[in-house]
């Protein structure tokens, strides 16, 4: 089975090599590299930097992301199911039906709670 993935491995190897070679050639070997304090400091229109460039995210992003993950996982469960649907027959349809049914309940809940709305 693993031979099917040989192209992927080769692709990764080529990607790694190309990435490394270009970065080292361009970034470190060919380009002039003379850092000093002023060059390395963050530039904010001539001011000293006011604050950390990382700022706080609204917690709503987090909620959306976590809801996305849950349904992402649900989709992941659908893939093997779709492949073997012929073998597992009606029973498989039923078990996936219950699985999806439970998540539809979750979906109705988040819809009604307004978790999908961006006020």
């Amino acid at each position: 089975m693993l031979e099917n993935y040989l192209p992927v491995l080769i692709f990764m190897a080529v990607g790694l090599i190309v990435g490394f070679v270009l970065l080292t050639m361009g970034g470190f070997m060919l380009a002039p590299h003379k850092p000093d304090e002023a060059k390395n400091s963050p530039f904010e229109c001539g001011f000293e930097a006011f604050e950390d460039s990382r700022m706080k995210f609204d917690v709503r992003y987090y909620l959306v992301a976590i809801l996305f993950i849950i349904f992402d996982l649900e989709i992941a469960f659908l893939v093997p199911w779709a492949i073997v649907l012929e073998d597992i027959g009606l029973f498989g349809v039923l078990s996936m039906g219950i699985f999806l049914g439970v998540l539809v309940i979750g979906f109705i809940y988040e819809w009604k709670k307004g978790a999908l709305e961006w006020e």
């Binding site: 029973f91 309940i105 809940y109």
Partner: protein, 478 residues
Amino acid sequence: MTLEALNYATAWPEIFLLCMACVVLMVDVFIAEKNRNVSYLLAQLSLLGTFALVMVGQTDERVLSFNDMFVQDPMSDVLKQFILGITFAVFVYSRDYLKDRNIFKGEYYVLGLFAVSGMMLMVSANNLLMLYLGLELLSLCLYTMVAFHRDNGNASEAAMKYFVLGAIASGMLLYGMSILYGLSGSLVLSDIAHEVANAGDNKIGMVFALVFILVALAFKLGAVPFHMWVPDVYQGSPTAVTVFIGTAPKLAGFAMIMRLLVEGMGALQTDWQQMLIILAVLSMAIGNIIAISQSNIKRMLAYSTISHVGFILLGILAGTAAGYSSAMFYTISYAIMSLGGFGIIMLMARSGFEADQLDDFRGLNQRSPWFAFLMMILMLSMAGVPPTVGFWAKLAVLSAVVEIDMTWLAVVAVFFSIIGIFYYLRIIKLMYFDDAVDETPLSCGRDMQITLSTNGLLILGLGLYPAGLMSLCLSVFN
């Protein structure tokens, strides 16, 4: 594969409960804020319905279903009944408490019901996968419930600690389970038991897996030295959640130990016995000694839980039918005692006042002689004083330990229990011999009065007539 082959009828209580939890969730989002009581009543009805289904489906045999994933045996039936009954009382106690703090939400009940189904699945698990999923279902609900009071910093901190340590414990459990699966080639407990018994050279690998599994179990039960989360979580979470964490999950934890250690790895008994001895002695020592210096009663009861967990482990490590049934008796009676204890704390709490300091119990007798009396029974029972069920529980465990010629262990246990009596008696002293600082009369609904009184009297009743519960626990393991 057909539906009939699943033999799903044995799981009707779980199926019903899960469906009802979804119904409560759906009803709750569609009703208006002022009708929130409907969710509460529906949740209670679901518990009662599930209880009835468990009663109807009781069996004397061991019935496997869902391709050996799920097992129904007398132990699972008894434990499920107690889990459901205790959760019913938890919901009754917590209603006013939640209302006073503006966290009377349907989610509390939905998560509670899902947690109960997680516990029931753990109790009936016959497969490592099911044990883990049941445990995760339970833990996820508990983490959320601890953080339920969102504006309370202590609750958030408790939830964070609980979550991180719980996740580490789950990781340990999975690691142990994966080693066990790798060595035995099966997830089904009875197959694992067979492989463990015929392990030969692989035994050291199995013991290696056992260590990780045992660490995870100790984490989840809160046995020393894996107890760090217990005091913080008990103190930080809203009392309505503490009472839930401190009662029903102990029964599920007991079932988990029985399934994993006794059913799955019974052949390694000499190995886990040594480990459990260390855990039990440390738990009884640390729990009882540190509880003395607490001024917060929730924290004190947390340390008392740790010491009681030590006793439960003592019964299990005996490794005999008498030992297992005494541990089960102890777990059930401890769950009922702790239910009552936290019930009284919630009874005294009111909006903006938690009643979680020992000083809040001063002069309780002047304010309400009846509830002071109930609290006295509960404290005496936790201390293990004769006319209460706590005495019989300790006696059963100790005699099981003596029977396997570990008298020194019994002596150690008695020694630390005597130390423990001090802090239970201190509460009784505060209630009866000190003057009340706070004269506000205690008020609560009729349903709570009745349930709490039944709870307290049950301790006394079981103490006077322990034979019924004792023979029930014995019959489970014969």
